[in-house]
C-alpha cells in the first residue's frame, strides 16, 4: 500500500479501498464499447464526510476523482480517463426520508433505482418516482446527474427536473446544499433561490453529489397499457402529439425493432395509463382510443392491442428486467440516446436502420416522449459480442455515426462519451462554451473532477 492508499484507508477503512490489480481491472472497464482506463485507487465511502476527506486529499495530491454510481450510462462516463480515484458511491445507500405530504424522497447518492421502487412499494404505496428502466442497480443520483428520464417523463419531464435539492461535495472539498435544504428546512424546493444548477448534466465533472431530494408523484392503484401498431413511421409524431394533448397518458414510447421478426418493419407506440378506479381508467382509455386513435384504426393504418378493461395488459416489471444485452450472445450492449424533437422520429428511424444495416446489427430504435411532446429521448441501440473484437468495433463505429446523426437532425446526444461530447462542443455557442469553462474553473481549479469529460479547450 503506498502512502496515498494508506491515507485513503484511514478515511474509509482498509476494506473499502483497493489498489490491487483485480479492483483496478474491474473499475477500468465500462459495460459498453469504450476502451479501458486504469484507475490508481478504488474507494467506496460510506458518508459525506468521507467523500469530503477523499476529495480534499485528491485536491492536495492533484489526483483525479471519478464518482461512480451504477455504472450503467454505458458511454464510458465513469471510467477514469486520466487515472486517479474511482469513487464507488454505492455504499451510501440509505433512504433518509420520504415526505408524503410534500411528496419527495431524500436519498443518499448510492441508493439504487431498484431499492427506491421497492421501498416506496412497501412503505409509501401512494407514491412513485420516475423510474428510468435501466437495470435496478442504476442509482438515483447518477440518473439525475446525467439528465435521465423515466417512466413519468411524458407527464413530468426529465428526472433532473424533479430535483428539489442536492447535497454536493465541491472539488475543493466544501459541502454545499442546493435548494431549500440550504436553509435547513425541508428538502422540498429549489425555487425561488438563485439557480445553482451546476451539477446536473455535468456528469460528475463539477463535484460529487452525495444526497438528492427527488420529487415523488401520485401512484395510482391500477395500471393498464396498450400497444398501437403502425407501418408508417411518419404518422408517429402526430399521434404522440395528440395523445400528449389529452393529458391522460403516462409513459409514451414509440419503438421499432428488427427482431423478433414479428415486429420487424413496424412501429409500435406503447401507451401506459393508470388510475385509482376502473371508471378513471375507462375515461382515459376512451379519450385515447376513441378520441385519438379511432380515426387511424378505422382507416386501417393503425391497430390497437390492449387499452381495454377486458384485455389483460402485458405490463413490464418495475424496475424492468432487460435481456437485450444477450441478443448476440455476447454480453454487450450500448446505445446513443439523444434528446430530439419529436418530429424527427421518422427520420431517426430511417437513418438508424441504415446505420444498423451497415454494421450488421439488427436495428433497435426507441423514442420516449418527454413532457407534452416537448422532446423525446431517442435511442439507437447496438448489441455486440464482447469476445469478438470486430463486433465491438462495429458497434463503436455505429455509435459514433449515431452521435453525428443526432446532431445532424437537430438534436443533442444525451450523456455522450468523449466522442459525442466533442461533437456537441464543436457546435456550441462560443459564449456558452466559455461560460462552461468558467464554471468548471471556478469550481474545480485543479481539474480533478472526472477529467477528460466535458473539457472545453
Amino acid at each position: 500500500m503506498d502512502s496515498i492508499c494508506q491515507s485513503l484507508a484511514e478515511i474509509v477503512g482498509e476494506g473499502h479501498v483497493s489498489n490491487r490489480p483485480e479492483e483496478l481491472y474491474i473499475y477500468s472497464r465500462d459495460l459498453g464499447t469504450a476502451e479501458p482506463h486504469l484507475p490508481r485507487y478504488v474507494v467506496a465511502p460510506r458518508t459525506t464526510e468521507e467523500v469530503q476527506q477523499v476529495v480534499k486529499l485528491a485536491n492536495r495530491e492533484k489526483i483525479p476523482v471519478v464518482p461512480l454510481g451504477g455504472g450503467l450510462t454505458l458511454a464510458g462516463l465513469v471510467m477514469p480517463l486520466r487515472g486517479g480515484i474511482v469513487l464507488d458511491m454505492k455504499r451510501m445507500d440509505s433512504i433518509l426520508e420520504v415526505n408524503e405530504r410534500a411528496r419527495y424522497a431524500l436519498v443518499e447518492a448510492g441508493v439504487s433505482q431498484g431499492k427506491l421502487v421497492a421501498y416506496l412499494n412497501t412503505h409509501h404505496p401512494t407514491l412513485v418516482h420516475s423510474e428510468p428502466g435501466a437495470p435496478g442497480q442504476a442509482t438515483v443520483a447518477g440518473n439525475v446527474a446525467i439528465h435521465g428520464q423515466g417512466d413519468l417523463a411524458q407527464p413530468y419531464g426529465f428526472n433532473s427536473d424533479m430535483v428539489n435539492g442536492l447535497e454536493v461535495v465541491l472539488p475543493t472539498g466544501e459541502v454545499c446544499r442546493i435548494g431549500s435544504c440550504s436553509l435547513a428546512q425541508q428538502w422540498f424546493t429549489q425555487h425561488p433561490l438563485p439557480d445553482l444548477g451546476l451539477f446536473l448534466g455535468w456528469c460528475g465533472t463539477t463535484g460529487v453529489i452525495t444526497k438528492v431530494s427527488l420529487r415523488l408523484f401520485p401512484r395510482k392503484r391500477i395500471r393498464d397499457m396498450g400497444m398501437f401498431v403502425l407501418e408508417d413511421g411518419d404518422l408517429v409524431p402526430d399521434i404522440l402529439y395528440r395523445i400528449s394533448h389529452t393529458e391522460m397518458a403516462g409513459d409514451l414510447i414509440a419503438w421499432s425493432q428488427e427482431l423478433p421478426v414479428t415486429v420487424s418493419g413496424l412501429h409500435n407506440i406503447s401507451i401506459f395509463i393508470s388510475g385509482d378506479s376502473e371508471e378513471e381508467l375507462e375515461l382515459k382509455r376512451k379519450l385515447i382510443r376513441v378520441g385519438i386513435l379511432g380515426e387511424y384504426i378505422h382507416s386501417g393504418v393503425g391497430g390497437l392491442v390492449g387499452l381495454s378493461a377486458n384485455v389483460r395488459p402485458r405490463l413490464p416489471r418495475r424496475p424492468p428486467v432487460s435481456t437485450i444485452q444477450d441478443i448476440k450472445k455476447g454480453g454487450g450492449f450500448e446505445y446513443v440516446g439523444a434528446i430530439m424533437p419529436v418530429d424527427t422520429y421518422p427520420e431517426c428511424c430511417r437513418r438508424g436502420a441504415e446505420i444498423s444495416a451497415r454494421h450488421n446489427i439488427a436495428y433497435t430504435l426507441l423514442g420516449r416522449v418527454i413532457g407534452r411532446s416537448h422532446a423525446m429521448m431517442f435511442s439507437w441501440s447496438y448489441v455486440f459480442n464482447r469476445a469478438d473484437e470486430d463486433s465491438v468495433r462495429e458497434a463503436r463505429e455505429a455509435l459514433y455515426e449515431s452521435d453525428d446523426l443526432a446532431l445532424e437532425l437537430g438534436g443533442i446526444p444525451w450523456k455522450p462519451g468523449v466522442y459525442g461530447q466533442q461533437a456537441v462542443m464543436e457546435r456550441m455557442d462560443p459564449n456558452t462554451l466559455s461560460l462552461m469553462k468558467k464554471v468548471k474553473k471556478l469550481l474545480d481549479p485543479n481539474g480533478i473532477m472526472n477529467p477528460g469529460n466535458w473539457e472545453v479547450s
Binding site: 414479428t262 413496424l266 381495454s308 377486458n310
Partner: protein, 342 residues
Amino acid sequence: MYELRFDERKCLGCQTCDCLTKCQYMDIDVETAKTEMRKIINGEDSFVLRQCVTCYACEEYCKKGNHPFYLIVERQEELDIPPLPRPLIKQGVQMGVPWRGELVVQDVQEPFLDMCMFPQLAGSIQGKLFDSVSIAPTDARQRAHFFCQLMYLHYARSSVIRERLPQVIENIARHNVKEVICFHDECYGTFASYAPAFGIEVPFKPVHFFEYLYNRLVDLKDDIKPLNLKVAYQRPCSSRLSSDKLHLVDDIFDLIGVESVEREYVGENALCCAGAIRMQKYEGRYELADDVLRRNIEDMVRAGTQFCVFNCPACFDSIGHVVARSGMNPIFMGDLCRLAVG
C-alpha cells in the same frame, strides 16, 4: 396452385342461405342473403365482406358443406377489404415466420400430439391420461415449423395459409406418424376441413384432441372420480370447422361427472371469445367485442357455472382473466380430465 373447392350451384340453389340468415352478427333476411351471396360468388363487393366478424360460424351453418366462410375470406383478400388494420396483419403474418433455426425432427412414437404454437402448455400433457404420448414441438423456438396457420382466416390472408401449410404438413409428416392428435382445435380444423377444401393433401390422419381424451378416459374408467362440477364450454371459433366432433364435449363431461349448465349461448348459438373482433378496424368493433364478452360471461354466471372449460389457448388468453374475475375458474379440458383421473 390450391383453389377453394366451392360449388356455386349449391349456393345459388340454396333456399335458406343459413350461412347468412343465421349469422349472429348480421341481421339478414333470405332475399338479401341471396343477393349478397351472388355478389360474393361473382367476386363483387358486398357489405357482408365488411360486416363479417370472422367468427367462422357460417362454415357450420352451411348444411351443404360449401365453405361460405372460406369464400368470404377469399373475397376479402381479393378485393383488399381485410377486417384488421394493415399493421396488425403484417405483424400477424410475420409471427408465423420460422426464424429460430431449421426444423429439428424429433424422435416420437404414436400416440403423437402436435402442440402447434403452444409447446409452453406441454406441462399439461402429463399423468395417466398422457403417459405414452409423444409431443412436438417441445422447444418453443421450433413452434413456427408446426404452426397450422389457420388464424390468418381472421386476417383475410388465406393465401398465406396456402403458401405455408404444405411445408408445415411435410414437417409433421417427417415424424413418420400415421395419426396426429391435434392439441388445438384449430389444427384439427386445418387438416380436416381447410386442407381438403383447398385440395391440399394431408398424409396423416388428424385426430381431434377430445377424441383422444374421450377414448383414453374410457380406458381409465375405473380410475375416474366424478368431479361433480357445473361447467360451461367456451366453444372456440375453429370448433365450427369440426361440428361433427362437438358431441365429444358432452361425452367427456358425462364420463368425468360434470354437468354442462343450461345456458343460452351454447352449441350453434355459442359466442366466440371476440378476441379477433376487438382488433378489427371498423367503428364499433371494440364495443361489440365487449358486448359479446359481457353476454357470454353473464350467460355463464346466470347458469351457475363453476368452471369454464377451454380448448383454445387464444380464447384462454383472451378471456380467461375475465372468467376468473367473474367468479368462475378457467380451465383447459385436458386439465379438467386430469383432475378426474388423478
